[in-house]
């Protein structure tokens, strides 16, 4: 059995890596300006002499593809961490209102600073989003002490999301005309307009946080059995829970700061990964969710750009179409298995 499982996991990982590479390359290849495969390679290696192609690939498409991959991975891992925390497969940064609250704090900071003509840099954006994430996480934790039922907690999260979205609309309304377009686009969610400097910040934050999550995959595995057993196995529950909250908040804050709120990826991808790999072992699911999230967002980003090209639709529109059905499936399978016990 263990051999069979190892083979399955290896095959699945290989498959994920390959399709990630394929879609990553398609992100570079496809767009309003048509480029050939050779031109893309030329631009990437710096050997091509077409400066327009080089600009399009290196300055526009490459950062965008990298951002989509990294942020998609970040969202999925963030979702998986939240699911572990709440021991519920339908918890995620979007449904719990964490993304929306991060969006709100970023929007407020942006409109306030824009008044004085200051543009926030990447780190400040992430900082603002992180504060928002922690605020909503705090609210959710307070509520989770009061409500026993997970469904009620999710509904509370969705409501927090609505409140934050409404307040964000208000903030956007009061923004300067010149910046409204910019802010509006961002608040709908998009991977466009991310430059290479942003990508560096994203990579630093996301890779650090995901590595940290990977390192705590052992206590996460113990925690899946419930708090009592985890405690008996020597897990320091308090430290562990704080780690989960901080890491999931940092990851979803990073996504929101650069791409706005992106819906359902955090639930859909870990669910798909668990089904494909046939396990919920964090040591497998964390790296697999990261790659899976990258694939999912690369595909969704491609669709958002191509569907009505040259007009782009918001990334959340696409992730919702693909992600929400998976969320429903996750919910149903959760219920079925509970019933069959």
């Amino acid at each position: 059995m263990n051999r069979k499982r190892a083979v399955r996991w290896t095959v699945c990982f290989a498959f994920l890596v390959i399709i990630a590479a394929v879609f990553f390359f398609m992100e570079l290849l496809i767009g309003s300006a048509s480029l050939s495969i050779n031109e893309v390679f030329g631009a990437l290696t710096g050997s091509g002499d077409d400066s327009a192609a080089r600009t399009i690939v290196n300055d526009i498409r490459l950062p965008r593809a990298l951002a989509a991959a990294l942020l998609g991975g970040a969202l999925s891992v963030s979702g998986f961490l939240l699911q572990s925390f709440f021991n519920n497969p339908i918890a995620g940064p979007y449904v719990l209102g964490i993304s929306s609250c991060a969006k709100l704090t970023v929007a407020i900071s942006m409109t306030l600073t824009m008044k004085y003509g200051i543009l926030l840099n990447s780190a400040e954006m992430v900082g603002a989003a992180f504060i928002g994430s922690l605020l909503s996480m705090g609210a959710i934790l307070l509520l989770s002490g009061k409500v026993r039922n997970m469904a009620q907690l999710i509904i509370a999260g969705v409501m927090i999301g609505y409140i934050c979205s409404a307040l964000t609309e208000l903030a956007v309304t009061f923004a300067d005309d010149a910046n409204i377009v910019n802010l509006h686009n961002w608040s709908m969610g998009s991977f466009s307009g991310i430059n290479m400097d942003n990508v560096k910040v994203i990579a630093l934050i996301v890779l650090t946080a995901v590595s940290a999550a990977f390192i705590i995959s052992k206590p996460m595995g113990a925690y899946q059995l419930g708090e009592s057993y985890a405690k008996n196995m020597g897990v320091n529950i308090r430290h562990f829970r704080v780690m989960l909250i901080l890491l999931s908040s940092i990851l979803s804050a990073c996504v929101t700061a650069f791409a706005g709120p992106v819906s359902f990826v955090g639930i859909a991808v870990p669910h798909l990964v668990k089904s494909i790999f046939g396990t919920a072992k964090p040591i497998i699911v964390i790296p697999a969710s990261f790659i899976g999230g990258a694939v999912f967002c690369l595909i969704c980003d491609l669709i958002s750009r191509m569907l009505f090209a040259p007009v782009e639709i918001s990334i959340s529109t696409v992730t919702a179409v693909f992600g929400a059905p998976v969320v429903i499936a996750a919910m149903l399978s959760h219920r079925n298995q509970k019933g069959s016990v």
Partner: protein, 362 residues
């Protein structure tokens, strides 16, 4: 090192400052099963959680392997003491083998990768509990009995000297209850470990424990061998049994006696009357019974169910005096039921009673 592996002195347990049980002192040695009994809400689970270092205690001390438990690092506690609860595991996509393997947690490295030795221990634990055939099955898709055995295998694979189980037999059918407790007994003996458990099944507590700790009115009321605990009316007092009669010899209870003027007189003996007594109880008919020897198997049952019981001293032939007492009782009844088929020397008096009874009926 002493044989005592786990003990407490003047321990107060509870939540926050709210004391649930106080003045708790006990010792459990390697090779022993200690069972905690007491009514619902007496604080048995609170005690288990406290001695398993899951809940901070309010005052007193807990000693684990000759050390104060509050000074032992969490990882070391994990290697000395394992727990097994009845609650359902909500973990998704975990096979029973995965669950059992979590018992190896305190021994694996940073990423929790199992060594060949760890795998062997997991396999052995599953074999010991008879769960090997479930290794690839999802933990959510097995029965309560199977899950309980798997969780026990998990605790065993942790290779600790103390095993703590909260109501391990609940939800199990009688054969699975026996199977589980036999595994525990075997484990305690072969691995020289100690088991601390709570049980609601008094009959099983009586048969499978080396020591019994009784919790009543927020304190440790008594601790002793099953023979000491299951004697006289102690269990009845411990649980405040007033809805039936507890029979310490069997570790079980008879339903509540039907009171009122007896309508039927049952002649029984040697266990032949038990079914009739229970039937009459179910039908709500008050009855008298006799003439039963005090060492008769059905004596405790008759005594708990009959309104009036005419008895005879053990090993003595039934005396005329007892017969006349019985006839007096029959006088008040409408009917006599004789459950006896044969009459021997010692209960020849019952034959006489049956012959005379016709004239005496009301």
């Amino acid at each position: 090192m002493s044989r005592t592996i786990l003990g407490s002195k003047d321990l107060s347990v509870g939540y926050g400052q709210k004391v649930v049980v106080s003045g708790l002192g006990f010792e459990v040695c390697k090779g022993e099963i200690l069972t905690i009994i007491g009514s619902n809400g007496a604080g048995k689970s609170t005690i288990l959680k406290t001695i398993a270092a899951q809940l901070p205690f309010i005052s007193g001390s807990v000693n684990l392997a000759d050390k104060d438990i509050s000074e032992i690092a969490a990882q070391d506690i994990a290697k000395t003491l394992s727990v097994c609860f009845t609650e359902r595991i909500a973990a998704e996509k975990m096979t029973c083998e995965d669950i059992v393997a979590t018992g190896r947690y305190p021994y694996t490295g940073r990423l929790g990768i199992l060594s060949e030795n760890d795998r062997k221990i997991v396999r052995d634990s599953m074999e010991l509990t008879g769960t090997s055939y479930l290794c690839d099955t999802d933990i959510r898709c097995i029965s309560d009995g199977q899950r309980q055995a798997v969780m026990l295998a998990r605790a065993i694979s942790q290779q600790t000297q103390v095993l703590i189980l909260d109501e391990p037999a609940s939800f199990l059918d009688i054969n699975n209850k026996l199977k589980l407790l036999n595994i525990l007994k075997e484990l305690v003996r072969s691995r020289d470990i100690a088991v601390v458990q709570t049980l609601h099944e008094l009959d099983l507590a009586q048969r499978f424990s080396d020591k019994i700790l009784c919790i009543k009115d927020n304190k440790a009321d008594r601790i002793g061998s099953p023979e000491e605990i299951f004697s006289g009316s102690y269990i009845s007092e411990l649980y405040g049994i007033d809805n039936g009669t507890f029979l310490p010899m069997f570790g079980t209870a008879e339903a509540k006696r039907i009171t009122g003027d007896p309508q039927v007189f049952v002649i029984g003996g040697g266990g032949s009357g038990i079914d009739t007594y229970r039937q009459l109880q179910r039908l709500g008919i008050p009855f008298s019974a006799g003439i039963i020897h005090e060492n008769d198997i059905e004596y405790p049952v008759a005594r708990s169910l009959a309104v009036e019981l005419i008895s005879e001293k053990a090993y003595e032939p039934i005396s005329d005096e007892s017969i006349s007492l019985a006839l007096k009782a029959i006088k008040k009844c409408d009917k006599v039921i004789c459950c006896l088929k044969d009459f021997g020397t010692m209960n020849f008096g019952n034959k006489k009673l049956l012959e005379l009874s016709g004239e005496y009926l009301k």
